[in-house]
Symmetry: C2
Subunit: 473 residues, 2 copies
């Protein structure tokens, strides 16, 4: 999940009040009966994944993949190699309806990065440059430091106090990621006042000295300066030193570099509908790219795996829903949904007919709770009814509007029905964009339950006698 | 806390059954009355620290110190500078009964350390060399890897499979630190079979890609080889690769070096007894040295601070207990209690007369629960009665025998009464010996309560009409 999510998450925070009350739903008895009729097949799907032939397979396969490739930054060869590997896996597994669609993506690369506190005492400061940051001049830069906790504090300083300095943002964690993440793009505001680099407290509520990378935006027309995240521990240390009146000096070397754009691919595998192939498709999705640290297991190989494994298991169970279930593994989400935007543009002409529902998982695949949903009041009622079938998974919670669905916001923002995985992800930002995004975060049983939820929900929506109503702008 | 603690902690695990039952205590009514008579003065001490003039001071002072000096490895100049600073602080605060006593300590130094996975794919592996490890040959070494989960697995391998290899220990976390930490000294077992280096999964139950350093022992007569800890994440990745049959190759460069021994100091500040000065002393203690990563705040500046701040606050409150309350900040605990052993040797001739009680805090200064205690059955009864006064702190729990007191085990192991802080430290090993041992772990209110517990308990023991009974071997 990247920097834009905070908008969606902020919306999700007010979601409970917009729930359609049970008694505002006027589904016909026939439709209710039809949906409830799917309980046996839902049970079969769920049983096969939680206790049957597929038990533990999502985790095993995800572990193989993340061990083999590690992190997969868009624009880099490793992501393309991992896509080739997956395409070959699909063939091996008999998933022949698989293909890729190209997308133009940015190509930024992390080089050697090193920050050293020189005064008031010597200490190496582990950092991670932020996505698209420029590097320092060769040999690095050495400068005194100004530490601020807020943008207001920075703006209140006379320019001459900031000119030629490194600005450290030691912002507090403000309760949520969404409330805090704006500081990750602090380089522009600091550059406006003449700063030559920024070091920013990692955006997390918990730390074991782990710097977090992530996206950032320069301000158009303002000089670009090198920008990186510090650990929470070191940011607080610098803040304490600054408040004590110490002169703080840091040497910063960053060899990060922005290359020309590159070609990447969205990776697609589907179970073709028995009645409708390229109309009213049910999309299940996650993003295959990650930042270039750790293993990109939580963010977001997990979301990809519960999506494409849903297609694999439905296929292997010999199920034939009326509509196509299409797993899409987006590329270049982290830099700003490049894969999703490209896919939208390529499918724009027929999109109203082509898509029935966009599902996504991009806030972790911990223990699933349910799905949050965007759609018309009637679509909400239908979706709630479908979610009531998920009792065997224990994941029946419904919220609206959709939250945590950055890629699918490209469609849900315009009225397409969309649903995102809700899961017990209160520790998500502890690991987010760090070296610690690994298989340690992923639990086999939780993954099975997430896959079961995606498979069963997608199946029912894809097989229903009616499309989900939509009001597309 | 260092490598030896696991023995003490293992003892602590069986402690509940050895509690003296309430009705086995036959304290005289006079003694009970005397002890209960301390409640008003205990309340005064506690109130001054929790809500009065000293509120928040322990944390503020600890933050200043750890910000100024960071980690303080024994044998290094930084530890001696921090001792000089503290001695000067004592004077400034009017604590004139302060002095140091020398101790010979080892002097190991971490150099540049770098491990790079070369095959089956390239990845930097963050490591921390273990205390007293030798370095690699200049330019490093490159070798294939054998991964094992247990010593038994290693021993079962033919020597030729291990010869010339790097052995990775990917041991499981076996429920407790004590059950797991033996693997940190795996270098000897690996070297016996011809390994040229060892990389060991960090000894922790939780990780955000943070390697943990710590003590290790080579086996006498077995070749010394370089040894370091990997993050849990990377150890599990290597285990997966190895189980998949991949050929794993690592390049390892470590410039760690063992110098000749150095002189350090135990740092002492005391409130002299009004009746007895150098007899029947109540010692409160922690260790001032730390490993050379992070800030050494949790392990164990926190323990030092609640000890010497107890002396400061009792002094400032104008209290005059009959016996001396002596805060000792041990040196070189991490390498094996060098400061405590040296102190024992220097005070051996009169030790039975000199010491009444040894208190220690070295398993964190989180929210305090109570004190665990070693001593004769009668001493236990007295100590339980004293602990019942600590209700205003909410820290009245009593256990026996003493646990988590590595430095004071030098005395408690021979029958001297000893007491260690029990606190809500279930996350202790998450941060232990990492870059994340910082002020983020320390809470101002918890620290106040720990200091209050040390100050009030030490005061009552120091002022009581009788010494704690002891049965010294």
């Amino acid at each position: 999940m990247n920097r834009f999510c905070f908008i969606v998450l902020a919306l999700a925070a007010v979601s409970v009040s917009s729930l359609p009350a049970q008694d505002t739903c006027n589904l016909s008895e026939d439709l209710k009966k039809e949906i409830q009729g799917y309980q046996p097949i839902v049970n079969q799907i769920v049983e096969s994944i939680l206790n049957g032939q597929f038990k533990g397979d999502t985790h095993r396969s995800l572990a193989d993949f993340t061990t083999k490739f590690g992190a997969r930054l868009a624009g880099e060869k490793v992501l393309e190699n991992s896509i080739d590997y997956l395409m070959s896996e699909f063939k091996t597994l008999g998933l022949h309806n698989s293909y890729t669609e190209e997308a133009v993506v940015p190509h930024w690369q992390r080089g050697q990065e090193k920050a050293t506190l020189l005064s008031p005492r010597k200490k190496e400061l582990p950092i991670l440059g932020l996505g698209t940051t420029i590097g320092t001049p060769k040999g690095g830069l050495t400068a005194d430091v100004v530490v601020v906790e807020t943008f207001d504090e920075l703006r209140s300083l006379p320019d001459e106090k900031v000119q030629g300095k490194i600005v450290v943002f030691a912002e507090q964690w403000m309760g949520t990621y969404g409330n805090t993440v704006a500081y990750r793009s602090g380089a522009g505001e600091a550059a406006k006042k003449g700063a030559i680099a920024t070091l920013i407290r990692s955006v997390t509520q918990f730390s074991i000295a782990s710097p977090h990378t992530g996206g950032q935006n320069y301000i158009r027309g303002v000089k670009k300066i090198p920008t990186a995240c510090l650990s929470v521990e070191d940011a607080l240390m610098l803040l304490r030193m600054y408040r004590e009146g110490e002169t703080i000096t840091i040497h910063l070397e960053m060899e990060d570099y922005n290359f020309d754009d590159n070609i990447s691919r969205n990776t697609i595998v589907e179970l073709p509908g028995s009645l409708y192939k390229n109309t009213s498709v049910v999309v299940v999705s996650g993003h295959l790219d990650s930042w270039d640290v750790g293993f990109g297991a939580m963010d977001d190989a997990g979301g990809c795996w519960i999506s494409w494994k849903a297609v694999e298991y439905l296929t292997k169970l010999g199920l034939a829903p009326k509509r196509t279930v299409r797993a899409i593994l987006w590329t270049a989400e982290e830099e700003g949904y490049y894969g999703a935007i490209s896919y939208r543009d390529n499918h724009k002409a027929q999109e109203k007919e082509e898509f029935n529902l966009f599902m996504e998982s991009d806030t972790g695949t911990f223990d699933p709770i349910g799905l949050d949903f965007s759609g018309t009041p009637e679509a909400q009622c239908i979706f709630k009814e479908i979610l009531s079938l998920m009792t065997p998974i224990g994941a029946t919670e419904f919220k609206t509007p959709v939250g945590g669905g950055p890629d699918i916001s490209v469609w849900t923002g315009r009225g397409f029905p969309g649903a995102s995985l809700m899961n017990k992800n209160d520790k998500y930002f502890w690991f987010h964009h760090t070296q610690g995004d690994s298989m340690l975060v992923e639990d086999p049983d939780s993954l099975d339950r997430c896959t079961a939820l995606f498979a069963a929900t997608a199946y029912v929506v894809a097989d229903l006698s009616i499309d989900l109503p939509k009001d597309v702008k």
